[in-house]
Symmetry: C2
Subunit: 314 residues, 2 copies
């Protein structure tokens, strides 16, 4: 049972809660961070006291913004979950009492007295923006930067299939309120750490085209990853490197995360089944993007997955 | 002397011209193509006859859209220049009589009886959209796809400093009219030819970090480029590969375009001068991005440019 955004706004404006603990989901991304900290500022503008909590540390790239948001811990403050679809997504705060919830994930299972979920929204930031407007709070430049960061990162710069009229319309309004689209894009899409660049180089160096260029595979073996010294969490999105070459029907990335233990990622072009390939490796996923695991060194596993894709191509 | 967009619209609605030859600029990009073909459709909706001309062939990636636009050559049709800043930019059509002009480049020198130039616009497509609205013509899905393609490509997916409220607001309206943001992004930003990928791999493989990682240089030597078989024109934007690594103050790309003849590109971080480095190689440009030329093989030239950057770093 969820509320409308108007009901949520009315409750915040007229209800008894004047202190909030606002939770972002674990392994926080731009959307949960931008949304939660902008919401804190908006509630503060209404005279409330707030603090932001997250199971994991806020990555450095967001700190320039989040460090500007005041925080005050209040005993018995109402829990407000932002962009988390399940209690488990709150990590160490999975058992915290949640009274308010705002999210854009299908099938949100968080129990809250006041809950607004719109799975049609491309980002939670979009929903928080709409909420702030209904609260009658002026969107400051800092709120706009936070929300635009959430919106832009969750749509990969307006490139995901979830990008719609509302995403772009909200982005425009946030620019009017002071967000700098070029600076935010440069920070989040135009900058790589030296280690990330080294990892991408290793992946690209390992490219192997087989089956007339229809299969492209890449590996990152254990030795290379540890030599580069990159945190496995910092490899997010790296699988996309095999997904951009014209004519490739199956893109494979094999990451040896521990000696002779590999994680497999497979991307398939329209009409082919990555999930069927990965099912052979105890995994699964979507038709066009799936994952699995295998025992063996990276090159051995690569050959196995290539063979599975070849069979699928027929 | 330029007109307002309302004057341009009024002239098109009430003037005597009922046939137009619409020119895109040479080496056409998404903006000149999308703008010119959408304009043609709008004028056709007003009962005019139009044809689109361009000095160079329309690249394949745009043909799926442009091939759907009808064309009719009419003797004595009025010339309409789109997104070209000078007559020279019209290439083989530099001497064609131009009666109408719409553009977003500062210092447009095209002489036309009716001319609308707004250098504040991030794309010409934005201006053509505003014009079509003023013409009272319904924006069809095909027009929306063409204009969104122009807008998205000219702002590099809403990432350039020219991206503003109007860019995003117009993009939202175009989505409402039928443009598919994810499909357009995939086509123009998420797809690389095999040859382009090979060239990027060669560039990345040649990465050399010097001066404590403050200088990053890359080369594409003549032998490698010809072995890959990529057209030099298909290397557009490849210099950006050295411009994204954290901590890099100078990014250098040396391309040996003919044996022992190199083109140099230098990017500099805020506060440093790429133009001063390139001046030593008979070139120049902007403070943060400049170019030059040098005689010698790629590795020899790389070492020279590295040394020049080191001196600049002090």
């Amino acid at each position: 049972m969820t509320n409308t955004i108007d009901q949520l706004a009315r409750q915040l404006l007229t209800g008894e809660d004047k202190a909030f603990t606002i939770y972002s989901h674990k392994r926080p991304d731009g959307d949960t961070i931008g949304s939660a900290y902008a919401l804190a500022l908006a509630l503060q503008a209404l005279g409330c006291r707030t603090q932001n909590l997250c199971s994991d540390a806020i990555p450095d790239v967001y700190r320039r913004l989040t460090d500007q948001v005041p925080a005050e811990a209040v005993e018995g403050a109402a829990g407000f979950s932002v962009d988390a679809s399940t209690p488990e997504r709150l990590g160490t705060y999975a058992d915290a009492p949640i009274r308010y919830c705002i999210d854009h994930h299908e099938g949100n299972t968080i129990e809250a007295a006041y809950k607004y979920v719109d799975p049609g929204a491309s980002s939670c930031a979009q929903l928080v923006y709409a909420l702030i407007v209904r609260l009658g709070v002026e969107v400051t430049p800092l709120m706009a930067e936070l929300l635009y960061t959430g919106l832009a990162t969750d749509t990969n710069g307006f490139r995901t299939v979830s990008t719609n009229y509302d995403s772009l319309q909200t982005a425009a309004e946030l620019v009017r309120c002071g967000a700098d689209p070029a600076a935010i894009a440069k920070r989040h899409f135009g900058t790589k750490s030296r280690k990330r660049m080294d990892a991408e180089q290793a992946i690209i160096d390992s490219f192997r085209y087989t089956h007339d260029g229809q299969i492209l595979s890449a590996v990152l073996d254990y030795e290379t990853r540890t030599r580069i010294g990159i945190d496995p969490n910092a490899l997010e999105g790296i699988n996309a490197l095999v997904d951009q070459v014209e004519g490739v029907q199956f893109g494979i990335v094999v990451r040896e995360y521990a000696p002779k233990k590999c994680r497999i990622s497979v991307r398939a072009a329209e009409g082919l089944r990555a999930d069927l390939v990965c099912a052979q490796f105890g995994g699964g996923g979507h038709r066009n993007a799936a994952g699995g695991e295998a025992v063996g060194d990276a090159e051995t596993v690569r050959a196995l997955v290539e063979a599975a894709c070849e069979k699928e191509l027929g």
